[in-house]
């Protein structure tokens, strides 16, 4: 390995790492606020790529059907629970939020199917149609068991992942997709080729991390989320509605997943089940951050990406073995150094 090869590997690693950063931050965000390890999160990124490819090929993406089904289910569950509580006057509002709002982007895509939209509009529609999936899943699956233990939530998440990848196969089919490049240029930095896409990926990761930083520190909603993350009961006493905080956390994370899906789609062929491995590697990054710290998570995710690149060069058949083996020393180190918050304290 010479310096040139090392530089190319490092750039490739940073580009994959930046994708992992976006997803890992999403993991931490959801976990901090809801205590859910949202396993299907990687799937959402993959679905974004598949949706974008569908729009590019002038087909009706499967996401439309998926969102419609989820929206109807969530609306029915919400109406049923409102009816049992006797709060019938709240039903129109519930219908608007759980049925009408998620269906607006889906309806636009459905109506414009078959026509080639300009790229910015296509990207916007893709993000808009992906956004409701995680919050709707939250309403259908997690809200009824919001006070359960972390372990139960994790088990449900794993089950949900399998359901989602099954649905992915049903709605998107078994073939992989790859979208057109968003930017098509290559510059040379110190003699090493750097593709525009890699720069775009890194730039987006930095931009969205910064945006999140601003959100958490300078907006009321951000501070409410932060409060919920630190102490749910305390936040509740201060008048913060945990359900609303959950929905916002899911929405924000979906933005991150959607962005990473859009960024990765031109670089690699994405299948309905590609999301899991991407999610798992990001999760390693999130573990390095102890599922609490955003900056450490970002560094950890970048580290995973770079490690993956070099591991693939040294011994490609054992690449994933090397990456996941890192988990063991990291977990040992974290469990010795982190202060534990006992699960029982919450009850």
């Amino acid at each position: 390995m010479n310096a040139q090869i090392a530089a190319i590997l490092a750039i490739d690693g940073i580009a994959s790492g930046a994708i992992y950063v976006l997803i890992a931050i999403g993991f931490v965000l959801i976990f901090a606020v809801t205590r859910i390890i949202f396993v299907p999160f990687g799937d959402i990124a993959a679905f974004t790529a598949l949706t974008l490819a569908g729009l590019e090929n002038k087909q009706l993406p499967g996401t439309v059907g998926m969102v419609a089904v989820l929206a109807v289910m969530a609306a029915l569950i919400e109406i049923f629970s409102l009816w049992r509580k006797g709060a019938l006057d709240k039903i129109p509002r519930a219908l608007f939020f759980y049925l009408v709002l998620p269906l607006i982007p889906a309806a636009i895509i459905w109506l414009t199917a078959g026509t080639m939209l300009p790229t910015p509009l296509r990207l916007l529609l893709t993000v808009a149609v992906i956004l409701p999936i995680a919050p709707l899943l939250n309403r259908i699956v997690y809200q009824p068991i919001a006070d359960a233990t972390v372990l139960l939530l994790l088990v449900v998440s794993v089950a949900l992942h399998f359901a989602m990848s099954g649905l992915g196969l049903l709605f998107f089919g078994p073939e992989g997709v790859r979208t057109q490049s968003l930017v098509d240029f290559t510059t040379f930095i110190a003699g090493t080729p750097v593709s525009g896409q890699a720069m775009l990926i890194l730039g987006s990761a930095i931009f969205f991390s910064f945006l999140l930083y601003l959100f958490f520190n300078f907006t009321l909603y951000g501070k409410a989320l932060h409060a919920t993350a630190i102490n749910r009961t305390g936040a509740r006493l201060m008048g913060i509605r945990p359900q609303q905080a959950c929905t916002i956390a899911f929405l924000l994370s979906s933005v991150l997943a959607a962005v990473s899906g859009i960024l990765i789609a031109p670089v690699n062929t994405i299948f309905y089940d590609s999301g899991f491995l991407i999610g798992l590697k990001s999760f390693v990054g999130a573990i390095i951050g102890g599922m609490v710290s955003f900056p450490v998570t970002a560094i950890g995710a970048l580290f995973v990406g770079i490690l993956e690149g070099f591991a693939a060069f040294l011994s490609s058949p054992f690449k994933d073995v090397i990456v996941f083996s890192i988990l063991i020393p990291v977990l040992l180190w974290r469990s010795y150094t982190l202060v534990h918050v006992e699960e029982e304290d919450e009850e």
Partner: protein, 384 residues
């Protein structure tokens, strides 16, 4: 009510069993019409439709075709096979889209002694007592690699780089290339692997470029096989690309686009029937297959899979001609006669290969079953 429905279904079963004994040959066909293997399974289904439309009788005896879906599930394939033999009393079975499902059906065929035409590779032990009760129509992976390795040798390529899937398919291609190397084929310089869901193969491609081979052998399959090619071209690799029939895929061509241009792969002659010279064994039967396929299914047979189902049918027809002179359909003697005839018939020409089966192996094809095709302007072109 339950008793009644049980009675009715039992009666139906009896009736079915009764009809199977009449003067007609019953063929049971299993494929995956649902589940993950259905993208291939549908091609087999279309191939079978074309085959049945091509010929539905032998020496004046009508053939009855029973089709079942195994849902890409080996255990369902097993159940289907048992149902076909024990309830429908089929004389012959054909199936199925996935290798595990096919192995499961082969085991049943050996156990119940029913001739079976496998349209996927088979890997089960040959029964110790006597001969196997089935044959596989496909080319072996070793053969697929050998044919393309021979072509590299002919073209003067002395060394190749290799990137393949980190699964059994990658191993098969790599081992095939290594075997060819031992026989004077091109030297294999790298053994790099990636998974279908990987996000990048830059590192592997760098390693290939660093080894500076003259050509590159692709051990991936379908859509994701395009990934190393795109990466290698991006890194400035100029050598020619080679591959196996697993690259004959519309999405591989779409995604590989300019990078995949000029890729040469070994392929069953069926994918380029119209380009074959007139004296090629697959020209006549292949043309008949394509016409029949177009008539029944609409659209072109541009996949390799439907041809396997058709070839199973062709070999079955040839064997049935002989067997009908020896025994009556619906009897075990007929099944035995069919199996004997499959082994006795020599040089049966199908759309993929010239078949010569022996009791020693499930496979019965030779190097004539593969031609080399090259991707030019998004189309596969026959390379004599």
């Amino acid at each position: 009510m339950r008793k009644l429905s049980f009675g009715v279904s039992a009666l139906a079963g009896l009736l079915l069993a009764g009809t199977a004994h009449a003067q007609e040959i019953t063929v049971g066909f299993v494929t995956s019409l649902s589940g993950p293997a259905s993208s291939i399974g549908l091609n087999y289904e279309k191939g079978m439709n074309a085959a049945y439309a091509y010929k539905d009788e032998v020496s004046g005896v009508k053939i009855k075709l029973i089709k079942l879906d195994d849902g890409s599930d080996p255990s369902q394939a097993t159940k289907n096979a048992r149902k076909l033999v024990e309830q429908d009393k089929v004389d012959v079975m054909i199936g199925t889209s996935s290798a595990p499902g096919t192995n499961a059906m082969m085991t049943i065929a050996n156990e119940l002694k029913v001739p079976f035409f496998a349209v996927s590779p088979v890997n089960v032990p040959i029964p110790a007592d006597g001969h196997p009760w089935g044959v596989s129509m496909v080319q072996t992976p070793q053969l697929m690699v050998k044919v393309i390795a021979d072509r590299m040798k002919r073209d003067g390529i002395k060394s190749v780089g290799f990137i393949g899937f980190s699964d059994s398919w990658g191993d098969l291609v790599y081992n095939g290339a290594k075997a060819a190397e031992a026989n004077g084929g091109p030297k294999v310089l790298t053994n790099e692997r990636y998974a279908r869901t990987d996000t990048s193969v830059t590192a592997q491609a760098l390693k290939v470029v660093a080894a500076a081979p003259e050509g590159f052998l692709n051990g991936g399959s379908a859509t994701q096989a395009a990934l190393p090619l795109l990466e290698l071209r991006k890194l400035g690799f100029k050598g020619p690309f080679f591959g196996t029939p697993s690259l004959l895929n519309r999405d591989f061509v779409r995604i590989g686009a300019k990078a995949a241009e000029g890729t040469q792969v070994s392929a069953g002659p069926v994918v380029v029937t119209s380009q074959l010279p007139d004296d090629h064994f697959a020209k006549k039967i292949g043309t008949a297959f394509h016409e029949s396929f177009k008539k029944v299914n609409g659209g072109e047979a541009d996949d390799g899979f439907s041809g396997y189902a058709f070839d199973g049918w062709v070999v079955f027809l040839e064997a049935a001609k002989v067997a009908l002179t020896k025994a009556k359909p619906g009897t075990q003697e007929f099944r035995q006669a069919l199996m004997d005839a499959i082994y006795a018939n020599k040089d049966v020409a199908g759309v993929h290969a010239i078949y010569n089966f022996t009791p020693k192996s499930y496979f019965g094809v030779d190097e004539r079953s593969l031609v080399v095709v090259k991707l030019a302007d998004g189309k596969w072109v026959y390379q004599p």
